[in-house]
């Protein structure tokens, strides 16, 4: 029986607004903990009636951390609706911009959002457990982290003219060509970015060695895994088919994003504005799966760039070749993806067609319906539009990266609360671990509720009659 409730609000060092409620029983143990996503905006509704070519400008406003993902998913949906294949140069530039975003988003998350828990400790004073505290503890690393994020943001700027909410991709291609000066400018930052990422990888490996007991009891559970792959089942972030594997890594599906409605569905719970996608054939909740860095490395057989592949081989041995199901290894997987993204930047800058002037295909053949897909930093992003022949949208359906991880984050919150939160005197550090379970997934709640924006943490302790008897906020 629930005797008290702890509320953590807001959950900090994540994007958006959430809160956690922890319901305690009479013995002072956790009965159940919930992860509530507490905001809804309604892009799917208010984009009705807009023109298809406006969507790459409107939908980035779903999320300022990964606007490039929405920008490109919207443009890709537009390509299909208008029945037009972008020229090779346009695809190179779009992917280049996307790699910039993976680098900045992952880099910021590891060093500036999650880093304080790992470097300063879960139990560090909350007043300094943040990026400013990191500046004090390790200024050299913090400056490197700032530079890594800047490197990624600058790629977006060089390609698309703005660091946040660029105006670049359009149905059929992109709106301006690249230059040798910009190429050389980006190339000059690659070595340092790789070095910083390798420092991060060493840091997480050392941390994992020292904290292996925690890793093995911190939200470890089975799910399926889901994301884009190349035709050879290599890691893919920009374009491809979607692969779904089961908890043991066996393939369940490999399908075109155009058919996603046949494969997955979304479940709604009363206590969250964030929906819960699942694999239809297995049903709710048996068909839940995870996306994002851990999900992507678990569906991939290999990575197509040398440094990332070398690290992937180490990752792959964590669970003897089976999917890695430890929530805290998301951090390691995220860093391996940064390595890949930086190496991919170098490959793309080396493409002979990078500087081509043929950047927009205008031979439209109207199709009317299309699904744009991309691997956003946090997982698979789907934009599905239905348009009238004049290009005006009639309906819009969005399934956003963080949503796919909703069941997993809820499970992680419940599991970590049960493992670490003990009454009657609940300590702040216990609650920070619950938040850290959410943080590992790097949720983007604005994205996921397109829809959501708020993920704060406040903990209320509620007695059996429903009275709040204790509220813990980190204040």
């Amino acid at each position: 029986m629930t005797t008290e409730k702890i509320t953590i609000e807001p959950v900090t060092r994540i994007e958006g607004h959430a809160k956690v409620t922890i319901h305690m029983n009479e013995e002072g143990n956790v009965d159940h903990a919930y992860f509530h996503v507490n905001e809804f905006r309604g892009f799917e509704k208010f984009c009705e009636g807009r023109m298809v070519f406006e969507m790459p400008q409107i939908t980035p406003r779903i999320c300022g951390i990964c606007p490039v993902s929405h920008h490109l998913a919207a443009a890709k949906a537009g390509d299909i609706i208008m029945g037009v294949e972008p020229p090779p140069t346009a695809n190179i530039l779009r992917e280049l911009m996307h790699m910039g975003q993976i680098i900045q988003s992952h880099g910021m998350h590891f060093f500036e959002l999650a880093g304080p828990d790992l470097i300063l400790g879960f139990d560090a004073d909350p007043a300094i457990r943040n990026v400013v505290g990191l500046i004090g503890a390790n200024p050299e690393l913090t400056i490197r982290a700032i530079e890594l994020r800047k490197f990624g943001q600058d790629i977006i700027y060089q390609v698309g003219g703005r660091r946040i909410h660029p105006n670049f991709a359009v149905p059929g291609g992109v709106n301006h060509a690249f230059t040798p000066e910009k190429r050389d400018h980006i190339l000059s930052g690659i070595d340092e970015a790789l070095e910083t990422t390798q420092i991060g990888i060493q840091l997480i490996k050392d941390w994992a060695d020292a904290n292996i007991e925690d890793i093995e009891k911190f939200a470890v559970f089975h799910t399926g895994y889901f994301g884009l792959v190349t035709p050879e089942n290599s890691l893919e972030l920009y374009d491809g088919d979607i692969r779904l594997v089961d908890r043991d890594g066996s393939q369940l599906e490999n399908f075109s994003a155009q058919n996603y409605l046949d494969i997955i569905a979304e479940h709604v719970e009363d206590w969250s504005y964030l929906k819960f996608p699942y694999y239809k054939k297995m049903g709710w909740p048996d068909g839940v799966y995870r996306v994002g860095p851990l999900g992507r490395l678990n569906i991939a057989d290999k990575i197509g760039t040398p440094l990332a592949q070398e690290e992937f081989e180490v990752y792959h041995q964590i669970n003897d070749g089976k999917p890695v199901n430890h929530t805290l290894y998301y951090h390691y997987a995220r860093l391996i993806e940064i390595l890949f993204a930086i190496e991919r930047v170098r490959e793309l800058l080396d493409e002979p067609e990078l500087l081509g002037k043929d950047i927009l295909n205008k031979k439209f053949g109207f199709k009317g319906e299309g699904v744009g897909v991309i691997e956003a930093p946090r997982g698979t992003l789907l934009h599905h539009y239905w348009a009238k022949p004049n290009g005006q949208l009639e309906r819009v359906n969005l399934i956003v990266s963080t949503g796919h991880n909703n069941w997993a984050m809820s499970e992680a919150v419940d599991s970590v609360a049960k493992t670490y939160v003990k009454g009657p005197n609940v300590e702040e550090g216990m609650l920070n671990r619950v938040e850290a379970a959410i943080r590992a997934y790097d949720p983007c709640l604005s994205c996921s509720t397109h829809a959501i924006g708020q993920m704060p943490i406040k903990v209320d302790v509620i007695d059996a009659s429903g009275q709040v008897i204790q509220t813990i906020t980190r204040d």
């Binding site: 807001p10 060092r13 809160k19 905006r41 406003r61 604005s446 204040d475």
Partner: protein, 180 residues
């Protein structure tokens, strides 16, 4: 003399204005010399200090009861309230919802969406905020400084914060009003 304190939060926005704040890059080291960063989405304090802060910054408009509470608390606890970015200044892109109303947007997302299973319903737990019309910040609480932009440029944000830290109210006009 103690440093001026700054708290911030995001409401009905996209986090892009806070990202643009981080786009000041290494100048963040100068900023933390000038001001003491208190409760923000990237630090672990949960709300602005009860004793008050010098500058409160809010990104995003107000589209539900939780946003409204956060805005009012920030107003009560800060000397100077800054509306950062288009959503806070005039409602921005999310205010397009006002053409349809919150109810029809909720119905579209949780009941009608093609990917929903047959058990779609509008979430309604008492733990969740209630949706309202989308408002600009100044429609709900008095605002002292408006910084428009989607997002405002990092240089403009740095300029504004540096001025505020030194006790001056910056003027956001002319070259400070550019969109890139």
């Amino acid at each position: 003399m103690s440093k001026p304190t700054v708290a911030s939060d995001w409401l009905c926005g996209c986090a892009g204005c806070h990202m643009s704040l981080l786009d000041i890059d290494e100048r963040i080291l100068q900023l933390v010399e000038l001001v003491d960063l208190r409760a923000t989405p990237i630090t672990d304090l949960k709300e602005p200090d009860k004793e008050g802060v010098t500058v409160g910054i809010l990104e995003g408009g107000i589209n539900n009861t939780a946003n409204e509470e956060v805005a009012k608390r920030m107003r009560e606890r800060c000397k100077i309230l800054v509306a950062l970015g288009d959503c806070a200044v005039f409602g921005g892109v999310p205010a397009m919802r006002n053409f349809f109303g919150a109810e029809s947007a909720l119905k579209r997302a949780y009941i009608e969406a093609e990917s929903n299973d047959t058990e779609g319903k509008i979430p309604s737990s008492p733990e969740l905020a209630e949706m309202t019309r989308v408002h600009a910040l100044h429609e709900v609480v008095p605002v002292d400084l408006f910084i428009p932009g989607c997002p405002p440029n990092a240089d403009v944000i740095f300029y504004a914060l540096s001025e505020l830290a030194q006790g001056r109210i910056p003027e956001i006009k002319d070259d400070k009003l550019h969109w890139h």
